[in-house]
């Protein structure tokens, strides 16, 4: 039952992921990506026993990051016509590159002896629970946690200075003269 659930979820996830890059309308892409995230979260919750990560995945990715994407796309009026497709050659090269990467990865991990990799019996406590994760995070991973707050500071400063308006003429290169905004 779980195995078939996994195959179902996996199939749906991959399908939506493909649709993300295939959809013409960016709004559709965003929605497909949200669905992909739901698929991944379903994996966390239903199969991998990691409910906290699953829910946080939805809150952070679907509830915050993708909302921001949608915001930007909606406000910028990016309709389907906005993007000229790359030529077919590009498509083929891209697909070929991705496909070969996949083949290489799959080939490398196919031969791994999984018994040595996993196979540890569960120790009883649910490691995906918020309590356990919180304990580990705030005892062993204090330093990365604080460093992450520096990262947030950088992001705050960066976002504020880049997104704010500035009343200057548009230029191309530091030396050349202003060009008119069209």
């Amino acid at each position: 039952m779980l195995t078939s659930a996994f195959y179902f979820i996996a199939f749906v996830t991959v399908f939506f992921a493909v649709m993300v890059i295939a959809a013409k309308n960016p709004v559709h892409s965003v929605l497909y990506l949200v669905l992909t995230f739901f698929g991944i979260s379903a994996n966390y919750i239903f199969i991998l026993d990691a409910p906290f990560v699953g829910i946080v995945n939805i809150i952070v990715y679907a509830g915050a990051i993708m909302v921001l994407f949608l915001f930007v796309i909606m406000l910028m009026n990016l309709n389907a016509e906005a993007e000229h497709r790359k030529s077919n050659a590009f498509l083929i090269v891209g697909a070929f590159a991705g496909g070969s990467l996949l083949l290489i990865v799959v080939d490398a991990i196919r031969k791994v002896d999984w018994k040595s990799v996993s196979g540890q019996e569960s120790s009883g406590g649910a490691i995906g629970s918020i309590k356990v994760l919180g304990k580990v995070l705030y005892t062993d991973y204090i330093l990365p946690f604080e460093v992450a707050s520096v990262l947030f500071l950088v992001a705050i400063v960066g976002a504020v200075i880049l997104a704010r308006k500035e009343k200057l003429p548009l230029t191309v290169g530091q030396i050349s003269h202003p060009v008119s905004e069209s």
Partner: protein, 129 residues
């Protein structure tokens, strides 16, 4: 066992399964209702009615026009703070167990967060005129 008093730890898959049922139920309800209204309601197509409504005046231009930057900035800052708030949950749950160490850790984090917040307020990024 679903909906029985839990005696031992069970895996989360079973715990969460009713959510799927609920979803199927809700989605089914929505789809059915939509379909039924579609069947029942009258279908009169008139051109004027299908135009975008702009207070009775003829609609002008594309609705999807670029917007004030404040909205973007609000959304961007929301994303950052949302993640910071998420980090607080596992801490709050273990608040008593972590003791002083936890408080210092989070205190430092909060100080940096507040510095960022102070910066945002002071730089006027959130001023709605």
């Amino acid at each position: 066992m679903l909906l029985e008093i839990k005696t031992s730890a069970t895996s989360t898959a079973v715990d969460y399964f009713p959510i799927v049922i609920q979803f199927v139920f809700a989605a089914g309800f929505v789809a059915t209702t939509m379909f039924v209204t579609h069947i029942l309601g009258p279908h009169l197509k008139t051109k004027k009615k299908l135009k975008a409504f702009e207070s009775g005046i003829k609609s002008v231009g594309n609705a999807r026009q670029p917007f004030a930057i404040k909205y973007f900035l609000t959304a961007i800052l929301f994303v950052l703070f949302d993640v910071e708030v998420i980090f607080l949950y596992p801490w709050a749950v273990n608040f008593l167990d972590l003791g002083m160490g936890g408080i210092i850790t989070m205190g430092l984090f909060m100080v940096l967060l507040l510095i960022g917040f102070f910066y945002i307020i002071k730089s006027g990024a959130l001023d709605w005129e």
